[in-house]
Subunit: 367 residues, 2 copies
């Protein structure tokens, strides 16, 4: 296959990052250093998973005048959920905070990025879904991932679904990138094993898709290769959640996020997006369900994935596409083939010649 130009020519890096077990202890000082005469208060957006943890906001440096919101992870972010949160911040007097801390998984980190952009740019979340529509820098923002794999800490997007239009698209902008990221592997020690696996595989799957594609460049390939190496370290080891393996996976997540910025996915992500849209499956578990059924496109990665899932004794949802109706079949096909860029990346511009309706449905029926 010929190598095609990705079209990506410019990359915005995360400003700074702090790393290592215990790095989270530095967040409070970081927040304090951003408070100034102009802006004394701060905003803390915390994954609801930590709601029961005693004084979690205080440990991150929150003071009484700050806004603390726990972010639900039942659904992935919507333009509506973002707009509602921004409205709450305006009405509580947090229109111009000194900094916003996002503490959690991809949903929470993406929410922090979107809120940061909206507080300075005004308008509604839907106004900025697309490429380079954000006009001015957002509020200073700090990202602290508490689970590894999606790479939201490193990317220039924050994915949101617009329920009115059905559009799932982020604010792709240099301004969406975090100013400071804190990579503390000790935070992932309590992640449930299945979730740890599904989320970590998000980095692996993106990168094996990118490396098998035809849109390529030397820097994206480098980030992808090392991300895959790190994921192998983790998921082919006997204890994927040992301290050093959690460090590896946190680095894989960050570098995988860097890879995303300069490359494209392949066959797995379009099918996975269809499972999310039609059945509401979360992104990471949907990716695993799809890779499990699409070995014909990625035979080596599929074999390795099977080895990993068996070694780590991970359960995958079964029969996700049992009892499909004609309506569901049509919805799944439409939601898959709309992802033209990744499908072209994997199969060429004429991808519909091989990826027929019948073949698409037979793949879904294996999931």
């Amino acid at each position: 296959m010929t190598t095609l130009d990705t079209g990506v020519k410019i990359v915005r890096n995360v400003g700074r990052f702090t790393f290592g077990d215990g790095a989270v202890a530095g967040v409070a000082d970081l927040v304090a250093s951003k408070r100034s005469g102009k802006s004394q208060n701060a905003v803390f957006l915390i994954d609801e998973y930590f709601k029961g943890q005693k004084d979690i906001a205080g440990s991150l440096g929150a003071k009484s005048a700050d806004a603390v919101h726990f972010i639900s992870t039942v659904d992935e972010p919507t333009t509506q959920s973002i707009d509602e949160l921004v409205a709450k911040l305006h009405s509580s007097g947090h229109s111009s905070p000194a900094t916003i801390v996002g503490f959690g998984g991809g949903i929470t980190l993406d929410t922090a990025k979107a809120v940061s952009n909206l507080l300075t740019n005004g308008g509604h979340a839907a106004d900025y879904q697309g490429w380079d529509l954000v006009r001015v820098p957002g509020v200073h923002k700090i990202g602290v991932p508490t689970i590894s794999g999606t790479g939201a800490e490193a990317t220039r997007t924050c994915v949101m679904t617009n329920r009115e239009t059905g559009l799932k698209l982020g604010m792709n902008s240099d301004f969406t990138v975090f100013d400071h990221v804190v990579l503390d592997p000790s935070l992932t020690s309590t992640v449930p094993r299945n979730q740890y696996f599904y989320t970590g595989m998000d980095a692996y799957i993106h990168c094996i898709e990118a490396l098998a594609g035809s849109y390529r460049n030397a820097i994206g390939d480098a980030y992808s290769r090392e991300t895959v190496n790190l994921c192998r370290n983790v998921f082919l080891s006997t204890d994927m959640m040992a301290s050093e393996r959690r460090s590896d996976l946190m680095v894989a997540s960050y570098l995988g996020g860097c890879a995303i910025a300069t490359s494209y996915v392949g066959v797995v992500h379009p099918f996975s997006a269809a499972l999310s849209v039609v059945f509401g499956l979360h992104h990471c578990v949907a990716n695993c369900v799809v890779l499990n059924a699409t070995g014909e496109f990625y035979p080596e990665a599929h074999a390795e994935f099977r080895k990993m899932i068996e070694l780590q004794k991970i359960a995958l949802p079964q029969g996700v596409c049992a009892n499909l109706t004609d309506e569901l079949r049509a919805a799944l096909i439409a939601a898959t083939i709309k992802h033209e860029k990744p499908l072209t990346n994997a199969l060429g511009t004429n991808f519909r010649a091989t990826l027929t309706d019948t073949r698409i449905i037979s793949l879904f029926e294996k999931m």
Copy 2:
């Protein structure tokens, strides 16, 4: 060997980078976008290698009111050479340029970084040799490497020798990091083969030293591993200067620079520094001379290096340490063992027990 904490906990990334063959064509627009009412002029520091190239400064966007200086690469930067250049810029009315473009190898890039810091911080270059002594951000700066390997485009230092004190030390500071880096592999097509090899091996050698050391962290290791992979791609291929191999080496240089920020070197660099100090050998060729003679510390890397150098038909300086006097021997030993951190990284805190004077000299005599 136990893994020790590197002590490095925070990393400042290059703000943005542009990459790909032809990316250099975007430099002029980038410079134009930085000119403003407050500051209309720009500074161009260009490797003297390009002096004969017709309108090289104009192709980078230079206008008549701008300052254009060609940087000599006979010697590596000194605090004196930096101070003299800054004085020239002050007297020509370029005290507050809109941006500084560094176009060249490590010497030119490091010069651009140092000048940028001095124009806003005042004083002399020697005032800032050390860690975090730069007080305020420098002038906006754009780095365009024209040779790959040292990673100066990605690091937070700019190495300078203070001839009065004998101190070779950079301005290690977050403010030293480039705001924008342009990675255009087409620029390296005319590099002489020997120089291309020596400079590229700088990335390889740093990373194999880091990976063999005891001061380690997951992110430094990840950058180092992929840098070594890329160097293998390049130097174990039949045509190390093919277009795709030059892309690989430019990425290796950038990622190797990222690795430097979070890791330590080993035995090669202290010996190499001694060759530079005592005999004036440039850093990259000195590294190769040392690795060639120190296989006992890095047997696998040494074997691979020998394979690379033979495959690429590269000539190494011979008899560098022939005819040593007692005075030279003492100088070489002193200049080697002062690098305690890298030697500890490679051999442990008690490194002098194995690295005796006799052994040091017998190693130099093989060079």
